[in-house]
């Protein structure tokens, strides 16, 4: 019964979404208040309906209702509750339902919090959201319905892929989707602006908080996914440049560019049509990402090969959303009035450089992701594009980006004196050079260490440069103490947020450079009592025992880390054999320190007795996760800036 209500709510939601978009667009065209209010009402109804539907599916998972195909193929009664719930979005149908639910939540949020939005813009934004939601709902109902019943329900379900039974991954998709779908807001605002033919500073101020929120979620989502890959896959890596990761990384790059270009629209009324294009591209890349992963055009999923109808639908949707909006752009964007002019060396110029580099980076990732498809479609056979391509292309794009990032915030609008800035930053320049040299010497002073020394110098440059900006704003070391404090207090939250995010990236670079340059790996066959060396410790295999789990049996090894002969730490990695589906996984055991991670994995029992064990020394890797967290924290802080308070009318500055 509850399942049927969910199913019914989902079908009803499709019609409500269509009404929402029709009423919104037509009402805005006629300037009819009543119609536009109806559209708002529809958006709230859509939000409630999708919530009911999502709740019903969740309920089916919680009570293990195996009469649903979706639950039977993806869940199992012996699964811990957390993974029963995360199983809702751990599959194609459920994840699409989560997608559309979040989309409806965002549209509802516009209605509830967007009281100060101009009514026409608001109605159109809601209408565009309704269109996207309608397309998704139709896709779910016609090709991927999670509420399908099974004529003969099995006694128990198929189980969730044990790799996905992990707290990190349980929350990874919702964050990712909050990011993807959050960018739909920027998209809807862009389309509404194109229909209206007007983009101004106020528009940018309304778009930015949504984009910022989406960006924070996406950053966290990607970081969670990467962290999961690091500790769960058991190979010591944290980023594999596989299509699934790229799918989330492309919208992140485009969205980051969008955040910065919207700033230029807001402050200087320039780069308007570019910003609109970025908003469209960011969301299109989000869609593309979802679909590349879900449709199997790139990485095939079992379901796809047996159902070409699904792929066709996806393609039609992508055509409608991306093709339609880009066509609208082609016709309407030339009419947007160009705004303020600026010299190449200026804050605007810096942000434009940021945009060029970030979009080039996104394009590069897109090319690498789609290249296998291109080659295959042209009859060139199967190829795969791996890390070497990305490292060769991506790193050279990032170096100038990071180098410019430290200076950009110090530049003034319109035109700037770059040499003047650099000469004021001589302390930072000196510290950067010192860091580079120090790292080079410490690393061994070989020619091959120059790259890692350069990376660390870059991180120092960005970190100190970001702090320097705050120092200059507050006239640190130049004004009296109380004046500095007064000036610090006046710095808006948005500026603090930027500093945090930029510094966060610097910290992340430390982790990336450290772990890729100085990682150590030891693979060996060990019997109980034997020791192996890793970095500055010796690792002894103390014991191996069988440990039963709720839905698996585990082989648990106990390693003792010895530093200078004394016990330093105990780690117990496991090798689990899940019962349903029958699949082995390895649970790593990691000891994290600021200097690096000791990472241990226990493998199968070797034929001649003993166990295959793998140890990794991952230098500075904790810095990477910390950096990512600080980055998103920066976004969050910026979100609370008075200027960005959703719908806050202009000019109510007190303080």
């Amino acid at each position: 019964m509850i399942t049927e209500s969910g199913h019914f709510a989902l079908a009803l939601a499709l019609f409500v979404a269509l009404a929402q978009s029709g009423l919104g667009l037509y009402g805005a065209r006629r300037g009819d208040d009543a119609l536009m209010r109806c559209a708002s009402g529809a958006a709230v109804a859509l939000m409630l309906l999708t919530l009911v539907s999502f709740g019903a599916l969740t309920y089916a998972y919680v009570v293990s209702d195996f009469s649903l195909v979706n639950v039977a193929t993806n869940s199992h009664s012996a699964k811990p509750m957390l993974y029963k719930i995360s199983g809702v979005w751990g599959n194609h149908e459920g994840s699409l339902l989560l997608w559309v639910t979040i989309l409806a939540l965002f549209a509802g949020a516009v209605v509830l919090f967007g009281r100060h939005l101009p009514p026409l813009l608001k109605a159109r934004v809601i209408a565009v959201q309704g269109l996207v939601a309608g397309a998704f709902l139709a896709f779910i109902l016609f090709t991927s319905n999670p509420f399908m019943r099974l004529a003969r329900p099995p006694l128990d379900g198929n189980g969730l892929n044990p790799l996905l039974q992990d707290p990190g991954l349980a929350f990874h998709p919702p964050f990712l989707y909050l990011g993807y779908v959050g960018f739909s807001m920027a998209f809807s605002f862009a389309i509404a602006a194109l229909i209206e033919g007007r983009v101004d500073a106020a528009w940018a101020r309304w778009v930015r908080p949504w984009t910022l929120a989406a960006w924070v979620f996406l950053t966290l989502g990607i970081a969670l996914g990467s962290w999961w890959a690091y500790y769960e896959l058991g190979w010591g890596g944290w980023w594999y440049w596989d299509p699934v990761e790229n799918a989330s990384f492309m919208p992140w790059l485009a969205g980051t560019a969008l955040l910065h270009s919207a700033l230029v629209v807001e402050k200087r009324d320039a780069l308007k049509s570019w910003t609109i294009l970025l908003a469209i591209l960011t969301f299109s890349l989000s869609l593309l990402g979802t679909f590349l992963v879900r449709s199997g055009v790139i990485t095939s999923v079992h379901s796809f090969a047996s159902d070409p109808g699904r792929g066709m639908f996806i393609l039609a949707m992508l055509t409608a959303v991306a093709g339609g909006s880009l066509t609208l752009y082609a016709f309407r964007a030339p009419a947007l009035k160009a705004g303020g002019l600026f010299a190449p060396l200026s804050r605007e110029g810096g942000l434009l450089l940021n945009n060029l580099l970030l979009s080039t980076a996104a394009g590069t990732v897109l090319l690498g992701t789609l290249y296998p498809l291109f080659v295959d479609a042209l009859g060139g056979g199967k190829v795969s594009v791996g890390a070497p391509f990305y490292n060769a292309v991506f790193v050279p794009i990032m170096i100038p980006l990071v180098a410019a990032m430290a200076v950009g915030p110090l530049m003034t609008w319109k035109r700037t004196d770059l040499l003047g800035i650099l000469s004021r930053m001589k302390f930072v320049v000196a510290a950067t050079l010192l860091t580079g040299i120090a790292v080079w010497v410490l690393a061994g002073g070989r020619l091959g260490d120059l790259a890692s020394a350069g990376g660390m110098a870059l991180a120092a440059w960005l970190f100190l440069g970001s702090l320097w900006e705050i120092g200059e704003r507050s006239m640190l070391f130049r004004a009296s103490g109380p004046e500095v404090v007064a000036r610090l207090k006046q710095i808006p939250l948005a500026a603090w947020g930027m500093t945090l995010s930029h510094a966060g990236l610097a910290i992340m670079i430390v982790g990336i450079v450290g772990s890729s340059a100085w990682m150590e790996e030891r693979i060996q066959n060990m019997k109980v009592g034997e020791t192996a060396k890793l970095h500055d410790v010796e690792i002894r295999l103390d014991s191996v025992s069988e440990v039963p789990g709720p839905n698996y049996a585990a082989l648990s090894g106990t390693f003792v880390l010895l530093k200078d002969g004394k016990e330093y730490q105990r780690l117990s990695p496991e090798r689990r054999q899940y019962r349903q589906p029958p699949r082995p996984t390895s649970e790593t055991a990691i000891h994290s320190t600021l200097l690096g991670d000791y990472y241990t994995v226990i493998g199968e029992e070797a034929p001649g007795g003993g166990y295959v064990t793998r140890f990794y020394w991952q230098p500075l890797i904790a810095w990477m996760w910390a950096g990512a967290l600080i980055m998103s924290l920066g976004g969050l802080v910026s979100l609370f800036d008075r200027r960005h308070r959703i719908g806050a009318p202009q000019g109510s500055r007190k303080s």
Partner: protein, 179 residues
Amino acid sequence: MKRRLAYLLPVLVFLGLLGFFFRGLFLDPKAIPSVLIDRPVPQMDLAALPGRGDTGLKSEHFKGQVSLVNIFGSWCVSCVAEHPMLMRLKAEGVVPIHGIDWRDDPVQGMLWLQKNGDPYTRVGTDPPPGRTAVDFGVTGAPESFIVDAEGRIRYKHVGIIDERNWRQTLLPIIKELQK
């Protein structure tokens, strides 16, 4: 005019991409030509299901006529969905179907067949870790293989056999091999 063209560029690029996506729909990125295709079936001597009355599945059993090998298991939910189709194929009698009860408890496998019907000519059990199926190149269940009269694997089908892929793909290959 030139300015207008620049604005048209994004949609043109997208249309180009679209062409590739459309083509991509009809390519199967996983259809990496299996190295096992046209090779003899792996050496095997699989035990029979308890009480089923056959002698299990051995490599010799594939010699002499074209056969379909189906990988299943009592734990496999998709296999339940596939099963009526296999029962129909048995009734039609176009090709003998051999089953491999993969990563399964043989008793459970037999009970499952008693409950859902038994479309197989011969069944071999491949209990965990299921090495024989892995030698076949199996990545999941259900999967099916067409083996020719000389005992060579000629085609691998991933996923459920349904009306459509049976008519369009599997049956023509079997007919061709049976000539």
